[in-house]
């Protein structure tokens, strides 16, 4: 990796780690995992299902909040506070800055997810007393959650390259919600004909397909995740993120930093 990208990524990571708000969110997610134990204990015979379901949903939701929270500020905050001026007046290309920021944020989210995942796994261990073979699918669900974060980060960065932090947050969250219903949207598109059908199909395939990345219910029931889905989802998330980052770079390259 280009060393300047690495330096920018590390600085982004360091900034996020030193931001105390993040710790509150992680603590809250861990608390929720703990609460899942209580709920699990009063749910006879389905403790595991409840813990996995609630725990992973908490990881996913709080991770998305963190991704949007940091992602929208990555570029706009730097412009607003003018910290960018002293970076871009150095031998740093604009695309290096954007990509470095993306890697920094991705790294932050991976570490956060690991912390929260430990909480979920401990909760699981507490209610089940031991890990079972099917728990490996919980790890796959966590991996998919990280892939979701990758896309959310890229989208937040894309919107923040031309919009205000507030609008970027609204756009990103709206896309997350719509994307979580992508499969329903695709179903609707299949049933619609004519111009409406084309339009619905276009939108259904343009929005990120977060529903394909959500296997929480499946793994909570102990069902396996197909290897092909893991491969497709990995490629999909990487390509979608790369596309969003390329868009961010294209916009940012031409932007006047007033």
């Amino acid at each position: 990796m280009n060393s300047r990208i690495g330096y920018i990524a590390f600085n982004t990571f360091r900034e996020a780690v030193r931001d105390r708000v993040l710790y509150n969110l992680i603590a809250f997610a861990l608390l929720l995992s703990g609460a899942a134990i209580l709920v699990g204990e009063i749910s006879i015979d389905i403790e595991r299902l409840v813990v996995v379901n609630l725990g992973l949903t908490a990881v996913s939701l709080f991770g998305v909040v963190i991704a949007i929270f940091i992602g929208i500020g990555l570029v706009s905050k730097e412009i607003e506070k003018r910290t960018l001026y002293t970076v871009l007046s150095r031998p740093v290309r604009r695309w290096e800055f954007v990509v470095g920021k993306f890697f920094g944020l991705t790294g932050t989210l991976v570490v956060n997810t690991l912390c929260m995942a430990v909480g979920v796994l401990l909760a699981l261990l507490y209610v089940a007393h031991k890990f079972e073979k099917m728990d490996v699918w919980v790890l796959v669900a966590l991996y998919f959650i990280v892939l979701q974060f990758l896309i959310v980060c890229a989208l937040a960065l894309f919107f923040s390259s031309f919009s205000t932090p507030l609008m970027s947050a609204v756009f990103t969250f709206a896309l997350f919600v719509i994307g979580s219903l992508a499969e329903d949207l695709r179903g609707f598109a299949r049933m619609t004909h004519g111009l409406g059908g084309w339009l619905a199909t276009g939108i259904a395939y343009l929005v990120p397909n977060f529903s394909a990345l959500n296997v929480i219910t499946q793994v909570a029931h102990g069902d396996a995740v197909a290897g092909r889905l893991i491969l497709y989802n990995s490629i999909y998330a990487l390509l979608y993120s790369a596309m969003a980052i390329s868009g961010a770079v294209l916009i940012f390259q031409r932007r006047n930093l007033k």
Partner: protein
């Protein structure tokens, strides 16, 4: 080779809700700054100083025109490692300590890992922040941030340093230290281009200055030339119990302080005034022509008709180069 060569650089922003209303920020600007010069870019707030600096730093893109720094195009990454930049009212990553920030900027500027820490320490020492190196920048005062800003601008030993309002927010001691720093940079052979609206700083530090107003270059010239012209007046200081009536009739404006009279009068009455003093047996202390100050030049250039186009004026010279030192008519 010119350190800075600006050829008709122009910037128009599109403003309004639909970004359709043009707003001229900088009219076509031609300027040349030689290597080793300390060049002052003067103008009131909103004159276009920061826009020019942002254009040169590649932070905004020109509507028309080009510029070269150290003989290279603005978008040439190689030139970036040879320039330093202090933005106006700098704000840095406040989660970092001063030491971490300088180390980070050193990495981005390509300062070799070996010796980077030593260089950081040297810079902290140079701006008087050695004791605050491990304090997070969020706890820094405005003046301390300005010092960090100066340190980061010269950290990588650049050949060309841009300072946007470097004295802003500094107390008198801090301003003096910045002035000393610019003098040191000059003695090291660096080119310093700084924007300011504090004329005394420009007068004390600059080899040449340019005045910009409403996005338009109003004048360029060497300080020595701009302040060398007389105003057709002389100042006479002498001992006397009161202002002689004869002096007033010569058109003098006089004030008395203790037993000393200070009078300013038209140059053509110099002999008559001296004759009067001799006759009255007043002891002469000094007689000197009243020189034009940079402030007067600056104010003149800010007037609507302050753009001088006549032969021999500084704008008449190609690109406002150092040649203008020879013939600046004020």
């Amino acid at each position: 080779m010119a350190a800075i060569e600006i050829l008709d650089l122009e910037k128009t922003y599109l403003v309004g809700f639909w970004h359709k209303r043009p707003k001229l920020a900088l009219r076509p600007l031609r300027l040349r700054v030689e290597e080793g010069e300390v060049f002052g870019f003067l103008g009131p707030n909103g004159a276009g100083k920061t826009t020019t600096l942002k254009l040169l730093m590649g932070l905004v893109f020109p509507t028309a025109g080009t510029a070269q720094l150290l003989g290279k195009e603005l978008d040439d990454p190689a030139v970036r490692s040879q320039i330093g930049f202090l933005p106006e009212q700098p704000y840095f990553y406040d989660h970092l300590t001063a030491r971490e920030l300088l180390n980070y900027y050193g990495q981005l500027s390509g300062v070799p890992a070996k010796g980077r820490s030593a260089r950081v320490e040297q810079m902290l020492e140079r701006v008087g922040l050695s004791d605050s190196g491990n304090v997070q920048l969020r706890k820094f005062s405005k003046g301390m941030l300005q010092r960090v800003g100066l340190a980061q601008a010269i950290l990588h030993d650049p050949k060309l340093v841009f300072l946007d309002e470097p004295m802003s927010g500094l107390d008198p001691m801090g301003r003096r230290e910045v002035r000393d720093l610019i003098q040191q940079l000059r003695s090291e052979g660096k080119t310093v281009f700084f924007s300011t609206h504090i004329l005394s700083d420009a007068e004390a530090l600059c080899d040449r200055v340019a005045v910009i107003h409403q996005g338009e270059l109003r004048g360029v010239g060497a300080i020595a030339d701009l302040t060398s012209g007389t105003q057709g007046k002389i100042e006479i200081i002498f001992y006397a119990p009161k202002v002689p009536a004869g002096l007033i009739s010569l058109g003098a404006v006089a004030r008395i302080s203790g037993d000393m009279v200070n009078a300013v009068l038209p140059e053509e009455h110099q002999d008559a005034a001296l004759e009067l003093l001799r006759r009255e047996r007043f002891k002469l202390i000094s007689l000197a022509p009243v020189r034009k100050s940079l402030e007067e030049y600056y104010i003149q250039k800010l007037q609507p008709d302050g753009i001088q186009r006549s032969a021999g004026q500084e704008e008449g010279n190609e690109l406002g180069t150092q040649e203008s030192r020879k013939g600046v008519g004020v």
